[in-house]
Subunit: 268 residues, 2 copies
Amino acid sequence: MDRKTLIAQIQKKKSFLCVGLDPELSKIPEFLLDTDDPLFEFNKAIIDATKDYCVAYKPNVAFYEALGIKGWQSLQKTLDYIPKDIFTIADAKRGDIGNSSRLYAQTFFQTYNFDSVTVAPYMGNDSVKPFLEFEGKWVILLGLTSNPGAMDFQFQHIVDHHFVYHKVIEKAREWGSADNLMFVIGATHPEKFSEIRRIAPDNFYLVPGIGAQGGDLEGVCRYGFNRDVGLLLNSSRGILYASKGNNFAQRAGEEALFLQRQMEKLMR
Amino acid sequence: MDRKTLIAQIQKKKSFLCVGLDPELSKIPEFLLDTDDPLFEFNKAIIDATKDYCVAYKPNVAFYEALGIKGWQSLQKTLDYIPKDIFTIADAKRGDIGNSSRLYAQTFFQTYNFDSVTVAPYMGNDSVKPFLEFEGKWVILLGLTSNPGAMDFQFQHIVDHHFVYHKVIEKAREWGSADNLMFVIGATHPEKFSEIRRIAPDNFYLVPGIGAQGGDLEGVCRYGFNRDVGLLLNSSRGILYASKGNNFAQRAGEEALFLQRQMEKLMR
């Protein structure tokens, strides 16, 4: 999906919600465990209930990979089930030397047909570029993450720059454009969004950390919006596990609708 | 495999060679393409030919993942085929927020039974620790990588430290010990090994970049050895693709033997 289409979807749905599809066998309603593919059945119900309120789905690959081949099958079926007008993100955080990164890109853009993949920046240029070479596909590069460990390295002061994550965002903008490069910027740092917007005004940001991780939707929008909205706000656990009962999908839909309504207000 | 056993294997075989199992359909001998599982058949022949000269095997997961479910099956079969007295490394470069990293750890330590996995440090403490919590398993954390992109972020000067990669190594040593934490240090920077040894004297280093990437074996050993040897030197392409003909396995064995002989000399 290209940038223009993504922006049109956001305007049409009055939503910049991304739903994280991170199903865990220990957390999904028990009656699903008797089905042939509990992860897919769970995702299917979640997608049916939330698809009108979100513009993106983001399966975190760890949740599927951990189940071995069965997990990858669930991921494939989930991806096939997502409506074609919704942006898809493989949250895989890959990154390796050039020829290996090329294979990871092939995995998520060709073997599976995701629109985008999250990429880890530590190995630099030749670890990121192979992902950017796929026409019509997107890299979502880790910039400032939402977890406590972000303090360890991303917030290191570097000479001539404020922090490591600034340098990552600046450098990466030389490799890709606002048409194929987004950044992960955690909602747990709403006060950082205005300074990051100065470095990367046009790029979309994928923003995890609303809800379970304690991020602040309004603060993020105040400092993070650009003229195209420019944000994809992710919620996973808050939607998926709103209820553990038979009404889990209905409750997930309600949570997604609640977030969409807040977003609609903020977009005015 | 624990540290004591690994060191004993190195002493017994007079080798600290790690063979990278990175098979590509476009590079393996043509006659293997007619078999049911070309990747596994290739690896099997490589393992048979090299197992006496190496102490570790390192499949890079990208090469398997790119083929979808068939690739994961080849990986599983390869892992099952590796003799039990040889250390196994899932070169996966994973890393995510805590609950996702835990699932990645589960993937490689339980779903597949690897001894170790390579981990990317960018997300810090809570992205690395879940891997360290698996008894008897190892994290191999990216420190200073062998690729050109290492210059982009790893070599950034940070305030009060020389470089980002110094900080990564120092910090990580607070999270794990020499019994469960190694570092990736690329052979393309042999002059850096003595300064890194000052920061991390006891840890093993996994050293890629010998051969195809131009690293220097003697320089690496001069500056990188500790009293336990403390190095696992990886060679992938130089061994796997020594020949594209029917004699590929024999030539791979010869290359591995050649490296083992050099290592034996350097260990004296």
